[in-house]
């Protein structure tokens, strides 16, 4: 199979996944809570029965579920995700537009930190295999990936934000600063492009702790796989040849071994990406970071099913795109891989 064929096949599969997510979540979210109108309108539902009826009619709440599904799909095709009761009936699309870029920022930083830390410690661990360095690193990553993300986030919050007061917590940026203009939609990137340094610095400051928390619970997977992959590569004949040629150990290690040991890390990056994206659900709620993870939880607790649905779809699409990119990268990095 050649590359374009492979991409098409993967895209087709991604579409099926997203459609299943929509259908499954649509059915499930209709069983969330008993009386939707009461959940949405609160006391006003009982005080103003006519208002309640108006809402029920407007959102087709009294129709059978397949009719509601039909209206939902038609709306989706027109780019209408409905209105979000937990956000004062703002269009869901607008809420996603505000929250998703913030989550993507976090995931990006977390991915960079996780990969950096994971590769560095993995290489060190293999370079000094079976020594105290190796043992110490193993204890560190074992503790990292065995800890609940919300707990790591909480400890970071208390140590760095409350006790040391080095970094801010809550919200995504200092609210007194003017928003950058919409270029990419991602605030950190836009403020950088526009040269709004104060905003940029503040947004980065707010993103450090949440992304560090996500990185600390994921980097261990990279460290572990890189270490074992390096240990294996170091036993191979071409490494022995390199050593026999008289290359010094550092050159053998960094120039010859590390490069080939890297392939499993690329494969793993799609799994890491999935963990990071879903991990934002916990971490954003600890730091009160107003991204998609926080939105999906308030939507769930508020029986806001247009919000639940849209957030779930966006999570699914983000993960599907992430996996597609990682798989393509894998095919590019390792020419031995047969696509299919």
């Amino acid at each position: 199979m050649n590359l374009p064929q492979y991409v098409l096949r993967r895209l087709f599969f991604a579409v099926i996944v997203v459609l299943s997510v929509i259908t499954i979540t649509f059915v499930l979210s209709h069983y969330v809570g008993s009386d939707v109108i009461v959940a949405w309108l609160g006391k006003s539902a009982a005080l103003h029965p006519q208002l309640a009826q108006l809402y029920a009619a407007k959102y087709h709440l009294n129709e059978p579920i397949w009719v509601q599904y039909y209206y939902y799909i038609v709306g989706l095709l027109q780019g209408n995700f409905g209105y979000s009761p937990s956000r004062g009936f703002l269009p869901v699309l607008a809420v996603i537009g505000q929250t998703l870029p913030l989550t993507l920022q976090l995931v990006f930083f977390a991915f960079v930190i996780s990969l950096g830390l994971g590769v560095l410690l993995g290489a060190l661990s293999a370079r000094y295999g079976h020594t105290y360095v190796d043992g110490g690193i193993r204890a560190f990553y074992l503790a990292g990936y065995s800890s609940p993300p919300f707990f790591v986030a909480l400890v970071l919050l208390i140590v760095f934000a409350s006790i040391l007061q080095l970094l801010p917590s809550g919200t995504a940026v200092d609210s007194s600063l003017a928003q950058p203009s919409l270029i990419s939609g991602i605030p950190i990137l836009d403020s950088l492009l526009e040269g709004k340094w104060a905003y940029f610095a503040s947004a980065v400051e707010h993103a450090i702790l949440p992304s560090l928390a996500l990185a600390l619970v994921t980097f261990g997977v990279i460290t572990r796989i890189l270490r074992s992959s390096l240990m294996e590569v170091l036993q191979m004949n071409y490494i022995r040849t390199a050593r026999a040629k008289g290359l010094d150990e550092n050159a053998v290690f960094y120039r010859h071994a590390l490069r080939n040991a890297f392939i499993p890390v690329v494969t793993l990056s799609s799994i890491i990406l999935t963990w990071l994206i879903t991990g934002t659900i916990f971490v954003e709620n600890v730091f009160a970071y107003p991204g998609l993870g926080q939105y999906v939880v308030t939507a769930l607790l508020g029986q806001d099913y247009p919000g639940i649905l849209a957030a779930t779809i966006v999570f699914a699409v983000t993960i599907a795109v992430g996996n597609l990119v990682a798989d393509l990268l894998y095919a590019v990095v390792d020419p031995q891989i047969r696509l299919g």
Binding site: F13, V17, V21, L28, F151, T278, I281, V286, V296, A316
Partner: protein, 280 residues
């Protein structure tokens, strides 16, 4: 199997893991049985208030201190053990069984059935598991059992993929071919030859996976989707006491550490069995 145990016995990490796992399992079983019989095994009742001064630091009479209602945190943590352990073990056991069945049928039958089963597995695998589990959990309502069901629905695909891969390796071997030639039916081949031969490898993955499920469950509990107060639960305790991290740090830190220690136990045990398998 005996040689695996022998190799594991010489592995210090595996031993630590086995001890941790044993302590967690035993505690869960004892508390579970005692609760069913209506006996209190903890120093105080889990929802009993004013067992001592409010927000008391850890002491001999209150090992992990007391919370703001004067409830004994140690008793609450012990009583919550069956929740996390039963969700972890239950969800993974279910995933293991479903995975073994789907994976070995797909591998042994092959053809269209294989394609159908595996594409279905791929679709479920690609769903954002945590988000879907949250939605299912909210739809079913709060509670440990409902949380377990929510996770069972979504958790099996990696087990099925692994089982199929391992079953494929086994099914190309000669003794399976001869069993087939001897006229043994598919089900008999699966249960007599395939599953027994891939079981140990699946068990390693399952052991490692229990820790992951406990982490996810704790997270859902932290978000308030599991037990209803005043019933105790580790994740819920962290979230309920997170504002006390400076004034009474033991309140959120102890349940958080308990979760980590349990997960580390399953990781070390799983790694230990795997190393023993590779060596043996």
């Amino acid at each position: 199997m005996r040689s695996i145990l022998a190799i594991m016995g010489s592995n210090r990490e595996a031993k630590i893991g086995a001890v941790i796992v044993a302590v967690f399992l035993l505690t869960a079983i004892v508390v579970g049985v005692a609760t069913a019989l209506g006996i209190t095994v903890t120093p105080y009742g889990p929802v009993q208030t004013d067992t001592g001064p409010k927000l008391a630091p850890p002491s001999l009479s209150h090992l992990f201190g007391t919370d703001l209602l004067g409830r004994d945190v140690f008793s609450r943590i012990i009583v919550a053990t069956p929740n996390d352990v039963s969700v972890g073990v239950g969800v993974v056991a279910f995933a293991l069984v479903v995975g073994l069945i789907i994976g070995s049928i797909a591998a042994v039958k092959g053809g269209l059935l294989d394609e159908l089963l595996m594409r279905f597995t791929d679709v479920v695998f690609a769903l954002p598991a945590l988000v879907i589990a949250m939605v299912i959990a909210v739809a079913l309502g709060p509670g440990v059992t409902n949380m377990m069901i929510a996770l069972m629905i979504i958790w099996w695909p990696p087990h099925a993929r692994l089982a199929r891969g391992e079953a494929l390796k086994v099914s190309h071997q000669n003794y399976i071919r001869s069993a087939r030639l001897a006229g043994l039916g598919t089900w008999k081949i699966i249960f007599r030859h395939v599953i027994p031969n891939i079981f140990v490898i699946m068990l390693v993955y399952a052991t490692l996976d229990v820790g992951t499920v406990i982490l996810v469950y704790a997270g859902l509990s932290y978000l308030g989707l599991s037990v209803k107060p005043p019933a105790p639960d580790w994740g819920e305790m962290v979230s309920a006491f997170q504002d006390y991290l400076i004034t009474a740090p033991w309140l959120p830190i102890v349940p958080g550490l308990i979760i980590s220690i349990g997960v580390i136990g399953f990781s070390l045990l799983g790694d230990g069995i795997r190393d023993a398998l590779e060596a043996g």
